[in-house]
């Protein structure tokens, strides 16, 4: 187990001290079912408030984004600063296909998701081929985000420009149910699906390759892991999640604008959520995204001062818990248990 800061190897934050995962399937399915069940009960609690339900649906969308980003950054160490843009490819793609081209909603979502997947894979392929490091991958993907934003504003007849547009498709269906219950369960289904995919992935041979290349890419390559191939796999899977979540979310929301997927609105937030929950952990995204959604709702009256609170939180978090809440809690728990065992 390495220390909190592993020094020049650069595995700080994403390096792997991780409790060994059990290969038994119940070890994955039970916590997953428990998390799903808890979230499924939320509408009973806040279901009579349309505003809070809207917040909850957005919160689940953020859980999805964070899981997708976790697969890309947490599992394969590629800093993709285009989470919002990839989700936006899904969202705007699905909107344009459904409204302007006239495809059925499900087909639009699938095609748009495919587009996001391919773009994510392409970005990763380029980064891998040119062997860009974490920071350079970040900058190239950031450039993609900025170009995507410029394109959205430029193609204003399709995207509605700055103010966005309303989505006609699905307007009178349950997708737009005023009580937001169906949208909530739809997004929750995506969360469970994504967690299941990520969980199964982690226990497959791909997961082993991910862990190996994340701990030390050179050593993994020498041990016969095709690092390039697995990085692209990670990006494809993560981007597919982002595209699917983005397109599904906007179709339940009924309107879309560039800020829905803006860099400051999505990427920065997702990074903080993931770092809070624990980068590379399976349930970190849920913990991080749900916590931040709740904090955001509590602090809503403070307006801009919320950002001050986030800034302080980010600094405190990375100074004292760079591995995130879950790994820190797990570490403390192991320490406590060891102490107890010693005493006995």
């Amino acid at each position: 187990m390495s220390g909190q800061f592993t020094g020049s190897t650069g595995t700080f934050l994403i390096g792997g001290t991780e409790a060994r995962t059990s290969r038994a399937l119940p070890a994955l399915l039970i916590p997953l079912a428990a998390a799903g069940a808890i979230l499924a009960l939320v509408p009973i609690w806040i279901g009579d408030s349309r505003v809070l339900m809207g917040v909850a649906v957005l919160g689940l969308a953020f859980v999805c984004y964070t899981i997708g980003f976790n697969v890309i950054f947490g599992s394969t160490g590629q800093l993709f600063l285009c989470v919002g843009a990839l989700a936006g490819v899904g969202g705007f793609g699905a909107t344009i296909l459904a409204d302007n081209v006239g495809l059925p909603i499900v087909v639009s979502i699938l095609v748009a998701t495919l587009a996001a997947t391919l773009i994510g894979g392409l970005l990763s392929f380029i980064a891998v081929k040119r062997s860009l490091g974490v920071i350079f991958t970040g900058i190239v993907t950031l450039i993609f985000t900025l170009s995507f934003d410029a394109l959205l504003l430029g193609l204003s007849n399709l995207t509605g420009g700055d103010s966005g547009r309303l989505i006609a498709s699905g307007a009178d269906t349950l997708l737009r149910a005023r009580d937001r219950v169906l949208p909530y369960y739809l997004m929750l289904a995506l969360v469970v699906l994504f967690l299941l995919v990520h969980g199964l992935l982690r226990r497959s041979h791909i997961g082993w390759a991910f862990r190996a290349l994340r701990d030390d890419a050179v050593a993994a390559e020498l041990a016969g892991v095709d690092v390039a191939r697995y990085r692209v796999y990670g990006a494809l899977i993560g981007a597919a999640m982002l595209g699917l979540a983005g397109s599904t979310y906007v179709l339940t929301e009924g309107r879309i604008s560039p800020t829905t997927f803006g860099f400051g609105r999505v990427d920065v937030v997702v990074l903080v959520m993931l770092a809070f929950g624990g980068i590379g952990t399976l349930f970190g995204p849920i913990v991080g995204a749900v916590t931040f959604t709740i904090i955001d709702e509590i602090l809503i009256d403070f307006g801009q001062l919320r950002h001050v609170a986030y800034g302080i939180l980010i600094i405190v978090l990375f100074l004292w818990m760079p591995r995130g809440v879950i790994p820190t809690a797990a570490y403390l728990w192991r320490r406590v248990r060891r102490l107890v065992e010693v005493r006995e």
Binding site: I126, F136, I143, H307, Y310
Partner: protein, 285 residues
């Protein structure tokens, strides 16, 4: 065509100055300061407030530069402390995340306290003709300040022993320590210098377009892109990259239209990074 190139150079000088402060800290300390744009914005707002309070322009600008330098010093003394304990990519990542936190705090505070405040310095007088092209006086003054700054930096890094000491740390931190240079002290100096440069960016930019409380992120992002294209830690590279990207941007804007020109600019930056990951003037390690 000459008009386009001149416009491009004016914009490019802005880009170059933007990147210089960022590239110096990265080159020297391996620290990526995402709060860079916010330093510029705080300085700009300081100048604007000082002028509201009746201070003449020059002392107000001086105060802004001072505030920029002090903010750099403050970062160095506080949140960058733990960053210096790390090395390599870990240092870059931690510095990036902590300064991201700082940028949140600054943005949140400014947008809460001074939501509508913006700095725009109006340089009086009409347009000036240069090589048969009419240029706005504001952009000329901004360019002149930028050129003088670059000349000053150039002389500083070439000819003064302090400048040479700083360059030796950029080249080899351990080697510099062996010959008696304290890298931490150099870093502190560079952080102050980078803060002053950020403030200067805000001042020169405000002669062309207003700098408001929401400009921070875009200043940082463009500075980052120009920095990377020019080669991390390379001041001349930053200037060169700035001018090239500026000319590309203006010509693309004239020939095609504004939003695609931004995409072309970004594409050019991406292609440069992919072809020469070390930057235009960077040396492969």
């Amino acid at each position: 065509m000459i008009a386009n190139i001149l416009d491009g150079i004016v914009l490019g000088l802005q880009f170059g100055l933007l990147a210089t402060g960022l590239t110096l800290i990265y080159g020297l300390g391996g620290v990526l300061n995402l709060g860079y744009g916010q330093i510029a914005v705080v300085s700009a707002i300081t100048v604007a407030l000082a002028m509201d309070a009746g201070m003449p322009v020059l002392p107000a600008v001086g105060l802004g530069l001072l505030v920029g330098g002090l903010l750099g010093l403050f970062l160095d003394q506080t949140i960058l402390r733990p960053v210096y304990r790390l090395r390599g990519e870990g240092r870059v990542l931690l510095s990036l995340l902590l300064t991201l936190g700082v940028s949140f705090i600054v943005d949140g505070f400014l947008n809460w306290r001074f939501p509508l405040k913006a700095l725009s310095l109006h340089i009086g007088g009409g347009a000036v003709e240069i090589l048969g092209v009419l240029m706005r006086r504001g952009s000329l003054v901004a360019s002149a300040i930028t050129l003088v700054t670059f000349a000053g930096l150039f002389v500083f890094f070439r000819s003064t022993s302090l400048g040479r000491a700083i360059r030796s740390v950029i080249e080899d931190e351990d080697g510099a320590r062996l010959i008696g240079i304290d890298p931490k002290q150099m870093l502190r100096l560079i952080l102050i210098l980078s803060g002053v440069l950020a403030a200067l960016v805000a001042v020169t930019r405000s002669m062309v377009a207003p700098v408001d409380t929401k400009s921070g992120l875009s200043i940082t992002v463009f500075a980052l892109i120009v920095t990377v294209v020019g080669g991390l830690g390379n001041v001349v590279g930053a200037l060169l990259a700035g001018i090239i990207l500026g000319i590309i941007n203006v010509i693309a804007a004239k020939l095609i239209g504004s939003y695609i020109s931004l995409i072309i600019l970004l594409g050019a930056a991406a292609v440069t990074i992919l072809i020469r990951p070390a930057g235009l003037l960077g040396v492969k390690e």
